[in-house]
Every structure is written in C-alpha cells, then in structure tokens.
C-alpha cells in the first residue's frame, strides 16, 4: 500500500449525499481481475454519455478538476456494495482523499487498505470546503495526516481524527496481514480450543 502522509491538491466539489459505490464504479466494470485500470470507469454513468462521449457538466470533466486529488461530498459517502473497486477507481484516477460528514462502514475500511484517506468533518465544515473547492485551481487544499489537519486555501486549519492504528498503518504504508501473521500462535491456540468446544464446526 502506498503511504499517505500529506497531500496538497485540487479538490473537486460533489455536493451530494448517499454517493453509492455503484455510482463510483458500476458493476459492469468489475470484471477485471487486476487492481488497476479502474480510474477510466470512475463515476462512469455520470461522467460519460450513453454514446461514450464525456458529459461536459460532470465535475471531473471540467478543468481543473480533471486533476483533482481530493473529493468533497456529503453524508453517507460510499454506501451500498462492498466493492473495493470503488477506492481502487478513485486512486487510479488520482483521488487520494475524500472529505465528507460520514462514510459507509465497508467503504471506509476499504479506503484505509488502499491509501485513500476518508476524512470525516461536520456538515458545516464540508459546506465551507465545498465553497473552497468551487474556486478551482487557485484554491488548493492540504490534507496532513501526520498532524491530522485539513488546511483551507485561506490558511485556516481544521483538525480531524483518525483511529491511531489506522493512522499508523496509513502513514507507513503497512500491510496488516503481515502484522496479523505475527499472532499466528494465538490463532493456533484459538482454533484448538474451538475445536474442542464446538466440534461440529470442524465437519
């Protein structure tokens, strides 16, 4: 996983609640067996017309948002399907941070596994950041995970909180499987105990 420390970039405004993972990447694009290449299908139903041409009204088709690295949205971002292809598509497009009032649980987990930072901030703050984002290329937003602050174009700093373990993994780009495997002995002894107490689980 790519580490996330600090990021300064263009933020795209997406003033909508309940942006679901089918919207982020429709199911017909989930047939790839690799983790990469999903960026071209990000928000496909909104970004492209039925004939495949770009929808000029969609935010990511406008300058400077084609190069957006941050997305500002409203409540319950990432709801619906558990598809990890959603953060893969965001990442592949170049978006490494989403700021919203809250996130659906599975999407939130999936982001942390891929170096995409979901930042939860109150609705009023997201509305201010939405206005910042509407200013376009002259208004870059900084997301600093080390210090846990979002810096507005005005220089105002807004603190946020990330679970300490997740923050540690993200800052260092660590894979948690390796970490869990260090607990192999505990897993072995759990399995032995369970086998004795619940033999029906073991066929």
């Amino acid at each position: 996983m790519q580490a996330f420390t600090t990021l300064t970039g263009i933020a795209a405004p997406m003033p909508a609640a309940n942006v679901d993972t089918d919207k982020i990447i429709p199911a017909r694009f989930l047939k790839s067996i690799s983790r990469s290449g999903f960026g071209k299908h990000l928000f496909a139903n909104m970004r492209f017309n039925p004939d495949g041409s770009e929808n000029p009204d969609f935010v990511l088709n406008k300058e400077p948002y084609r190069k957006a690295e941050v997305l500002i949205a409203y409540e319950n971002f990432g709801c619906g399907s558990s598809r990890e292809h959603a953060p893969w598509a965001l990442l592949d497009f170049g978006i490494r941070c989403v700021i919203a009032p809250d996130f659906a649980d599975i999407f939130n987990n999936n982001c942390f596994k891929n170096g995409v930072l979901p930042v939860r901030l109150p609705r009023e703050v997201c509305e201010q950041l939405m206005e910042d984002a509407r200013l376009g290329g002259n208004a870059r937003i900084t997301v600093d995970l080390e210090r846990e602050v979002v810096v507005r174009p005005s220089g105002e700093e807004i603190p946020f909180k990330i679970d300490p373990l997740r923050r540690h993994l993200m800052l260092n780009g660590l894979d948690d499987i390796g970490q869990t495997m260090q607990h192999g002995a505990s897993i072995d002894s759990f399995e032995a105990k369970q086998q004795a107490a619940q033999p029906w689980l073991h066929g």
Partner: protein, 476 residues
C-alpha cells in the same frame, strides 16, 4: 466471580471469537466461515500468491460462482462474455491452486452465495461469517454474526482466518404485532429503512426482534437481515429459535445426531440476555406496515403502495430539494402521481433478497390462473439450483410459465447490471432486489423495490399494483 453483565446476541458471538485484543481495543476476530465468489476475490488470491502465502483454512472456505453468469441455457455452452469468462475461470484456477472447495457452475448446489450458505447448512447460529459482498448480512438470520468485507479483507481472511475489527454498537429493531395480509419480510425491511434512513445503522449491528420477526420463516428473516446494509448496518441478526433449529435439521450439511444436540445446547445460550444494553432501539408496529415500494433512487425513499410521488419543493432544505428533484427526474416521475399508475416494463423476482422457495411459492400463488400483462417482461430467477429443483418438484415453474413468466437458471441476474440480465435505458422495473440506485440494474434503468408478491402483482397488472387487490385465487 461476579455475575456476568447481560449481553446481546452480538456481544456473545463477538466475545466467543476474539483471538486477541490489541492495545488500542481492536480485536483480532476469528472467522468461522468465509464464502467467496468470482468478483471480489481475484485480486485477493493475487496478493496471497505475490506474498507466498497459503489459504489457512480451506475447510472454512467455500467458493461459488453467481454474479457474472447468464441465467439462460447459454451457461451450458460456456460463458459468452470474455471478461466474465476470465473472471469465472480465475476463481476456478485459484480454487485448484489454493485448495479451496468450489461449487462448480453446473452443479445442482450452485446459486447465489447468500442463498446457498444457509440452504446447505454451512451458515449456522453463533458463527462469524464473512464474504466479499455487502449482503453477507443475510446469514445473520441464522443467528450468526455475518458481514461484508472488501477484497483486502478477503485476502486477510484467506491468509489468517481472522479480521482486525473494532466492536460495533448494538441496535435493536423491535417489530411487534402481526403483519397485515399481503405483507412480508420485505415490507418490514423497507419500512425499517424508510424509518432509520440509509445511514441510520452505520457503525451498528442490528438485532431484529419482536413477535413479527419471530413469526417470519427463515426466508423472511433472511430478507430482513439481507437489507440491513441498505440501512447502513454491516450486519443484521435474529436470535436462533425453534424455527432456526427446524430449518437446520433439514439441511444437507448441518450437524447431525450427537453433533446437532451438542450444537443445539450452545445455540440455546445465544439469545440476548434480559436487560442487555442496546445503544439504539427502534420500534415499529407490524400492523401499521402496508405493502411497500420505493419510488426514488435510494432505498430510504419508500412509501406504501397507496402513496403518491412526493413533491421535491416541499422538502425542508435546499440540499434535500435538489436531491429529490434529481430522483424525480431520473425516475421519470411527476410529483403527485399515484404510485399505482406507474407502468412497468420488467418484473424481476430474484436476488439474494428474495429468491428462496418461499418467495417463489408466493409469486406462483399470485400468478396462478392469471397472465403477465402485454408488453411486460417478467423473470423469475431461483436463488440456487436446489431452489429451482424444489420449485419444479412443486410444479411452480409450470404455473409461472403458463402465466407468462420466464423461468431461469440460478444466479444474481438482474440485481446488479453485471451479467446479461439488465434493464435498458429508461425501462422501469418492479424488482425484488435490494438496491434502486441510479443505473444499478443497467444504465438509465428505473428500479422500484418491492416484495415478491408485489412484483408478481405488478407483472400481471402491467403497473405497480397493490397486492391486496391480487390475492391468490381460490380455484382456477
């Protein structure tokens, strides 16, 4: 030793599966059953391969092919779409390489992952069950803790049979009283989502309780737990009771004889203790629930079938007004229009929400002696090969096909716009699936979620209809 604090069903299953608690409170949680399908696993197996890791517990892992496949006879001659074929073949290859049991595509037990787990007796009370699929919440109907995970977590479970998890909050949804005629588990779950909203359950595990839940058969409970995720909760569950135990006894792979008795003794200790704490309690009166149908593009935008399309301008704030305007436009509606006047193009009875034998029986009962309206395409897609076989043994396929319904092979079908069963732009469907998001059933498709009985009634009427006007005929 002091008396133990009263615990919920969730607390008990959680406590029984904590391998270790890390200093920050994160638990290393043991997973009893890991179900896999072709869409969310290829990258996880790639990860194992790259790191030289093995599948830790093949005996606790079961694969099945369901999302990508056609539900017509073409599956017998090979998958046409090259990308779908590659994804299915990749699962088959990974199963061989890593020693994972896989139900072959042409096996009678093949079906939707959330139908086959309970049906085969693999999903049992007290278990922790995961799958790279948000509707894993379905298995909670067995009295299990079951939730969807992403592909990185799939890889984590494949390698370690555990997950790193923070405990969820407890929510109780209490549905008391008797359901009215024409209503089912689907109407309960839609009414619950209408009440709590699509983020109402975020961070929670929902336990459904109350006599209306107790009165549901296992299929009804699975429908209710299935859509917990549409209410924002990763898991939904129902405490195991005699209905659960009777169901398990009839499954091919459930514990038998002495093992069953031993399991039963533990299962009976699982229900929530009196006085256990719930962080959130939501109450619904079952008799107040009328047949439900969604009108918008989020499952929370649901109304009784007697309702009318809302007027966006009456919403409280501008953000909501804008959202509702977009929904009305996308769905091709007019504010004030009666829901029952909405003509449909497609009726879809299927998906992990509603494709079990009980769902097909009710659809057939309503279809019997009637005809699908002209211009409506009506599909019935059984959730598994075993459901299909059972329905055919009962003659339900004949009743349905005589009424003009298509009788299909098992799979996810028109739930998600990933296989050949899709809506075309502008088509309106009455669907027993779980998501009415824009484009979910195909780009530009317009989805109304409802129960199997309501879908059958809509197929016959040619428009959304009140199932109470289409009760089964006494004789034909």
């Amino acid at each position: 030793m002091s008396a133990q604090k009263p615990r919920t069903l969730f607390d008990k299953i959680w406590d029984a599966h904590v391998v270790e608690t890390l200093p920050d409170g994160t638990a290393l949680l043991y997973i009893d059953l890991h179900l896999t399908h072709e869409v969310t696993t290829p990258q996880a197996f790639d990860g194992l391969r790259a790191a030289g890791r093995k599948l830790r517990r093949p005996d606790r892992t079961l694969g099945v092919i369901d999302h990508n496949i056609a539900t017509d006879a073409s599956r017998y001659t090979g998958i046409v779409d090259p990308e779908s074929r590659l994804q299915v073949e990749t699962l088959e290859r990974n199963a061989v390489e890593f020693g994972m049991p896989l139900i072959p595509l042409l096996d009678a037990r093949q079906g939707i992952v959330h139908v086959i787990g309970p049906e085969l007796g693999r999903s049992l009370p007290g278990m922790t069950i995961v799958c790279g699929d948000s509707h894993t919440s379905t298995h909670g109907a067995m009295g299990a803790l079951a939730f969807g995970i992403g592909t990185s977590e799939v890889e984590h479970v494949l390698a370690t049979q555990t997950l790193l998890q923070k405990p969820a909050k407890n929510m109780q949804v209490l549905v008391e009283g008797n359901l009215a005629v024409g209503c089912s588990g689907k109407d309960i779950t839609l009414a619950v989502i209408g009440k709590i909203g699509t983020a109402g359950g975020t961070g929670h595990v929902i336990e459904y309780a109350g006599d209306a839940i107790r009165a549901l058969d296992m299929a009804g409970r699975m429908t209710v737990c299935n859509m917990s995720i549409e209410g924002g909760a990763r898991a939904g569950m129902v405490a195991p009771d005699q209905t659960t135990f009777d169901y398990i006894m009839k499954t091919p792979n459930g514990p038998k004889g002495e093992a069953f008795e031993q399991a039963l003794a533990w299962w009976k200790t699982l229900p929530t203790d009196a006085g256990a704490h719930f962080d959130t309690v939501v109450k619904l009166a079952a008799h107040e629930i009328a047949p439900q149908v969604t009108w918008g593009t989020s499952p929370e935008d649901v109304l009784p079938i007697t309702g009318v399309v809302p007027n966006p301008e009456e919403a409280a704030d501008e953000a909501r007004r804008a959202q509702l305007r977009r929904m009305v436009e996308y769905m091709g509606l007019t504010p004030g229009q009666r829901l029952q006047d909405l003509k449909i193009d497609v009726a879809f009875i299927g998906s992990c929400t509603n494709s079990r034998i009980e769902d097909i029986r009710i659809a057939a009962a309503i279809a019997r002696g009637r005809r699908v309206a002209d211009g409506v395409r009506a599909l019935v897609v059984p959730g598994s090969g075993l459901v299909k076989k059972q329905a055919e043994a009962e003659g339900l396929d004949r009743i349905l096909t005589e009424a003009g319904f298509e009788w299909r092979e098992a799979g996810c079908s028109m739930c998600l716009g990933m296989n050949p069963d899709k809506l075309t732009p502008g088509q309106r469907s009455a669907s027993t699936s779980n998501r009415n998001f824009e484009g979910r059933q195909g780009p530009g498709g317009r989805t109304h979620l409802l129960s199997p009985a309501m879908a059958a009634a809509a197929a016959i009427a040619g428009h959304l209809a009140d199932v109470r006007d289409y009760q089964p005929k006494e004789s034909v």
